[in-house]
């Protein structure tokens, strides 16, 4: 591994950063004292909401809803319909088309048509089932293929490329075509969507919302109520998981709670039942990806033509950004000299698909890895060797979107992992096993990731923080990011404690609140610590400068000599405790509060021309997975996983390892057990954990080694760290490739048509194809 550099070597004193401190709420979590919105003490008179929908319509027009039985049901206080909305009836981020309560057109099964407000949650839920609907159902459009045939889109197609792809194909001697389908994915945050709205005097609204994007909830609620943003405050202390599912999707429920509060004048809480949550909120985009590849005799790609057809659901929501990011990752770590990429954003009568950890990247990377696996079979070259040959490298270092890959560490990283996991030997062992076993087959795969870090909508790359130092030397910290379990608050507190040279306990982080830090971006795109850590540091530095100036003016300290460490401030003339200096500053009438701001440098992106530098840097990693499949039933077990991942100079190694392992297992679920099934009437059949299976403890291999790559981020990021939330999810492609490898062993030379998720049935479909085909 690389020698530890810079920051750690200078750090003789214990620093608050680069340390595995526990999550700031860890003790609260394990004792049940961490307060989530549904746990808050309810204000007297709080009412409860439950949304209602038409149980047998995925598409059509409602002529009439008879709500009389609903209104008469025990405990019901009000029934909200579209007519009650004073302002804008839309919760969408920007594009429109997402009614808070639909008026009469139904575009998917589960679209909210009314909302019951009742004395208890149970009463509200029961009442929703009493509505009677009249209307005409039309056959829903359910698949991307069908939508494409009918020309139904939520957004225009988009694509770009480089070189003369048609000529490359015409002149190439070797080529192949293929298709891979991937399913969507339900977020299954353990805490479902919830909001509590408390009406204030003169029409204000205070909304507690489990959201990754408090500013957007604020704007949606204000527009819905028809009041200025300044009258709405949104607050979130913590979420019980988000994963992208509370980026845009939290707004509708907050709007409904606020509407209930406006109509009744009482506090209103809406916590979705799990099944409603799964039916009514968006998921990861499922896609069908078709590709054609031309390559040379050494297995290097000459040209790639890739077309992603995404099922976006009934509205645009975040599909633009998601599908753009699919294209940004269609290369993963590989150089395509000539390339044509296309993305189609198709409109179906299903729930609107949305952000999910990776934000379109996983679908791009999955396609790139399938291309590599296919290349390995058609050339007969080892899949890892094929991957290495196609890596970005000197002279082959410009992505299809024109950004130069300047920080590529994959060759070294892969070599390290290949050694530590004993890839070559285990590959031989898998072969040997397969030669002796008819029913069971083993597969192994080592796959890389390269993931671009920054919001690709450039203006979102900004953040604010608010820091107060009190006269007793304690620090109050607030920033625009939200805590959903990823440890953001812990990391930002570490940054502040480090800046002031204080122990972590002296820094208090409180709930994210739109009245403290305004105009924030969503906590998304893995950017939480990159952006908010920098903003907090800017605020801390501003206060420190004032404190140093005060010190210099009151003592004979030389400004350069002042050091904040171990709770003290020392300088050439002596030292004093941080608290004493804070007190002295207060008495000296020095402002001890500052708002920090950060905007990511260097990045720019011209979507029209498809050029620029959308990303500040890339995060890298690789994983090796070994699996065994049963070729009679399609059952599959992951036997071992080894991961080596790049977090730059980690702010908190324990938290980062937690992100890596958690993301990997979540990605593994997406590609194996998690299957979304709609019936032919457009109803989601898998709307509960009884039918939708996320990984459980036994799905995680007993041998599961995770290491951090040792090296700084070469860009100037917060203490040279790298973002970690999303990238490792795609390490799970190694599991999918290993299953592919196991199936491929049945007939050398034949490419298994394995689709994701690789459920037993999906594996058996591929196995059956192998048994039918001639090598």
């Amino acid at each position: 591994m690389n020698a530890p550099e810079s920051e750690t070597s200078e750090a003789a004193v214990e620093r608050a950063v680069h340390r595995s401190t526990p999550h700031d709420s860890a003790v609260l979590h394990v004792t049940g004292r961490a307060v989530y919105i549904d746990d808050m003490v309810e204000p007297t008179g709080t009412l409860h909401l439950a949304p209602g929908f038409c149980p047998d319509m995925a598409r059509g027009r409602i002529r009439d809803i008879d709500l009389s039985r609903v209104r008469q049901a025990p405990g019901v206080v009000a029934v909200l319909t579209a007519a009650d909305i004073p302002g804008r009836n839309d919760w969408s981020t920007s594009i429109g088309g997402d009614p808070i309560i639909a008026e009469n057109e139904v575009e998917f099964w589960g679209e909210v048509l009314f909302c019951v407000v009742a004395e208890t949650r149970d009463a509200a839920r029961r009442a929703t089932r009493l509505a009677l609907f009249e209307g005409e159902a039309e056959p829903p459009v359910l698949t991307a293929e069908e939508a494409k045939a009918k020309g139904l889109r939520v957004l225009d197609d988009y694509g770009y490329g480089r070189g003369d792809v048609a000529r490359s194909f015409a002149s190439a001697q070797r080529r192949f075509d293929g298709v891979i389908r991937n399913g969507g994915q339900e977020h299954f945050y353990l805490e479902g969507q919830v909001a509590l709205a408390i009406p204030g005097e003169t029409g204000d609204m205070h909304v507690y919302s489990s959201t990754q994007h408090p500013s957007e909830v604020q704007h949606c609620v204000a527009h819905m109520l028809g009041v200025p943003n300044a009258m709405v405050t949104v607050e979130v202390r913590r979420m019980g998981g988000g994963f992208g599912g509370k980026e845009s999707q939290a707004s509708q429920w907050a709007c409904l709670a606020a509407l209930g509060a406006r109509v009744t004048g009482r506090p209103c809480k809406l916590r979705l039942d799990r099944d409603d949550d799964m039916v009514m909120t968006g998921k990861r985009h499922d896609m069908t990806t078709a590709f054609s590849v031309a390559y040379d005799s050494s297995g290097k790609i000459l040209a790639a033509d890739i077309d992603f057809m995404a099922r976006c659901g009934y509205s645009a929501d975040l599909s633009g950004g998601v599908n753009d990011r699919t294209l940004f990752h269609a290369d993963n770590a590989y150089f395509y000299p000539n390339v044509a990429l296309k993305s189609e954003r198709l409109k179906t009568n299903t729930v609107t698909n949305t952000a999910f950890r990776g934000f379109g990247g996983p679908q791009g990377i999955l396609a790139a890895e399938r291309i590599m696996d296919t290349l390995a079979i058609v050339t007969g070259i080892d899949p890892l060797e094929i991957r290495k040959r196609n890596f970005y490298g000197p002279g082959r270092d410009v992505t299809p979107y024109g950004q130069k890959v300047e920080d590529n560490i994959l060759p070294e990283l892969i070599a390290d992992l290949e050694r530590s996991c004993d890839y070559a030997k285990r590959r031989q062992e898998c072969r040997a096993f397969n030669s002796k076993n008819r029913i069971l087959r083993k597969g192994i795969a080592l796959t890389p990731i390269k993931f671009g870090i920054a919001f690709t909508l450039t203006h979102l790359n900004q953040a604010g923080a608010l820091v107060h130092v009190y006269a007793d030397g304690s620090v109050h910290l607030n920033h625009g990011g939200t805590e959903m379990g990823q440890g953001l608050n812990t990391k930002v507190a570490q940054v502040a404690a480090d800046a002031f040279g204080l122990p972590l306990e002296r820094v208090r982080i409180t709930a994210t609140n739109t009245s403290k830090v305004p105009n924030t971006s969503a906590t998304a795109a893995s950017s939480g610590s990159d952006l908010n850590g920098m903003a907090a540091l800017a605020a801390c530095n501003e206060i420190k400068e004032r404190m140093v100036a005060h010190l210099v003016s009151t003592t004979n300290a030389a400004p350069e000599s002042v050091v904040f460490a171990d709770g003290r401030v020392s300088h050439t003339g002596g030292s004093l405790s941080f608290a004493d200096l804070a007190k002295s500053c207060y008495e000296g009438r020095v402002q001890l509060s500052a708002a920090g701001f950060y905007s990511t440098p260097k990045i720019h992106w011209d979507r029209q021309k498809a050029e620029g530098r959308p990303f500040l840097y890339f995060a890298y990693g690789a994983a090796c997975a070994e699996v065994t499949i049963d070729t009679m039933t399609g059952e599959m077990k992951v036997d071992r996983v080894d991961i080596l991942h790049d977090c730059g100079r980690s702010l908190n190694p324990a938290i980062d390892i937690g992100q890596i392992e958690g993301a990997f297992v979540q990605g593994m679920g997406w590609l194996t057990t998690e299957e979304l099934v709609w019936d032919d009437k457009g109803r989601l059949a898998t709307h509960a954990p009884s039918t939708y299976k996320i990984p459980t403890a036994s799905d995680v291999p007993a041998i599961f080694n995770t290491r951090l790559w040792d090296g700084d981020n070469r860009e100037e990021t917060i203490h040279s760290s790298k973002a970690v939330g999303e990238p490792p999810l795609m390490l799970a492609c190694s599991v999918f490739s290993a299953i592919f490898d196991a199936v491929a062993s049945l007939k050398p030379g034949v490419v298994p048509p394995l689709d994701a998720p690789a459920t037993p049935e999906s594996i058996m479909r591929a196995v059956a194809f192998m048994r039918r085909s001639e090598a």
Binding site: H23, A26, D122, G241, M632, T633, M636, G662, T696, T706
Partner: protein, 496 residues
């Protein structure tokens, strides 16, 4: 007769007389006690966020088991201790070893699953006879009913290993004599009836009292472990107003070994039956290990699984293949019938008004009989079967002389494969050619449907594959070559 229930809560007896028939334990905790440490993640028994631990006086000790409070009815808690996440740290604030280990191992991220995980591990911490850390497999099995979307579980498993390095030593061990006293005091043998004739929760304490009630209120919903009934309330929102809980009838919880058979009361839980069933055959033990989760098995009953009549219940096919007999009771009377005859059609069983399931007789295997059971699911643990196949072959001199085959997930009821059974007679497991016709005959026996768990085609192909697999294994193939999980040999006997 008592018109209240009594539970032990934080060392004290709490008496509750205003329960609604279907009020859940979770609602009681969160809405009445305002103890919000216990979370609701799904409200249907599948995520484990609501896990609490119940303490019961059993075989001379206080036995602690995890349950899903979201689908447990409050009334069914009569006579039990309820332990929640708020209760287990020391009064001076020191964390419980399980809690401390999770903090140390960074085992909580968003923290929403954590209270449930803590309580599942608390139950494992108090597992009878535990002195050191259980094997990893057991820890993972104990966690199967607790979903965590954040951590990937590795740190949680590590925390469990660390927390259980030492024998139990927490405030519950210290309080054991007092707790035992309270629980024994609560076991008063009184029938419980709360409510009116039209809406009540009843928990008779004897078989005769139960029989009387069932005859008097033939429309009432019988409640055993509640792992099916609970969902009718929390998801189906069905207006159930009369509930008769069978769980307090000691006679229904007995397992008797009569030499060549096991006799089980209808109230025997999976957990109670696990070791006897594993002794009968390892595949039966593995089937139970994979059925639901520890929380479900702690209260879920085999009688309930049968009475529920679901075509995808796991026990009926296995028990039908074993040749089990079902016993029904009606007042003082009773009747017995072959288990397969109980399932008449989808949603229809051979149970008359006033009747209830009393028990089950399960013949053990004879020396010339081989048993195999396979459960096919998308996820190995805590998942409902797409296909569940069970086989009992009687083999004399290498030739099959009798076959009993039953499948779940292949028809509207758990159903025997009569054609395939007939065609297996005379076949030799070692000669594939001799049983090809039997495999094909499954196509006559079943016409499965497509749903979210699997397509009809996959179900049919897999049923055939499972029969073939059972035969290949009978012919001597070690399960290390035929299965990815649930192998029958000890690990060291596996062939590479």
């Amino acid at each position: 007769m008592r018109d209240s229930i009594r539970i032990v809560r934080r060392g004290r007896i709490v008496e509750i007389d205003d329960i609604k028939p279907t009020e859940t334990l979770l609602d009681y905790l969160r809405l009445r006690e305002r103890a919000t440490g216990t979370k609701e993640g799904c409200n249907e028994g599948d995520c484990g966020a609501c896990t609490v631990v119940i303490g019961e006086w059993q075989d001379g000790r206080v036995a602690y088991r995890p349950v899903n409070s979201c689908i447990q009815f409050l009334g069914a808690m009569d006579g039990k201790e309820i332990v929640t996440v708020e209760d287990i740290a020391w009064p001076d604030g020191r964390l419980h070893p399980v809690q401390q280990a999770i903090v140390d191992a960074h085992g909580a991220q968003c923290g929403f699953c954590t209270p449930g995980i803590v309580m599942s591990l608390f139950a494992l911490y108090h597992q009878e006879g535990r002195e050191g850390p259980p094997p990893r497999d057991e820890i993972v099995t104990a966690l199967a009913g607790n979903l965590c979307r954040c951590t990937g579980y590795r740190p949680i498993v590590d925390a469990a290993l660390a927390a259980m390095a030492e024998p139990p030593a927490d405030r519950f061990v210290e309080a054991m004599p007092q707790t035992a006293g309270l629980l024994q005091f609560l076991a008063d043998g009184q029938d419980v009836f709360i409510g009116s004739n039209s809406a009540f929760f009843a928990a008779p304490a004897s078989l005769s009292a139960l029989a009387q009630l069932v005859m008097k209120y033939p429309e009432a919903t019988l409640l055993a472990g509640g792992t099916d009934v609970g969902l009718r309330v929390t998801k189906g929102l069905r207006p159930i107003s009369q509930v008769i809980h069978v769980g307090r009838v000691a006679a229904l919880r007995q397992i008797e070994d009569v030499g060549d058979a096991l006799i089980l009361g209808a109230g025997v839980t999976y957990e109670d039956a696990a070791s006897a069933f594993a002794d009968l055959d390892p595949d039966l033990g593995e089937l139970i290990r994979r059925l639901g989760s520890r929380q479900v098995r702690a209260v879920g009953t085999i009688g309930g699984n049968i009475a529920n009549g679901s075509p995808i219940g796991d026990m009926p096919p296995a028990l039908i293949a074993l040749g089990a007999t079902l016993e029904l009771a009606h007042g003082e009377d009773g009747r017995a019938l072959p288990l397969e005859d109980y399932f008449i059609a989808y949603g229809k069983q051979d149970r008359q008004p006033g009747e209830f399931v009393a028990g089950l007789l399960v013949p053990k295997l004879m020396s010339n009989q081989v048993f195999r059971a396979y459960k096919i699911t998308k996820r190995f643990d805590e998942d409902i079967s797409a296909v569940m196949g069970a086989f009992r072959f009687t083999i004399d001199d290498g030739v099959i002389t009798e076959a009993r085959i039953a499948f779940g997930g292949m028809a509207a009821t758990p159903k025997r494969a009569l054609s395939a059974e007939a065609r297996l007679v005379g076949a030799q497991p070692g000669r594939a050619a001799s049983w090809g016709a039997a495999i094909e005959a499954l196509g006559e026996d079943y016409a499965p449907i497509s749903d979210m768990r699997a397509s009809a085609a996959y179900r049919m192909e897999t049923a055939k594959a499972l029969l073939a697999k059972a035969l290949v294994e009978c012919a001597g193939a070690p399960t290390s070559r035929t299965r990815v999980i649930g192998r029958r040999e000890a690990p060291e006997a596996e062939v590479a």
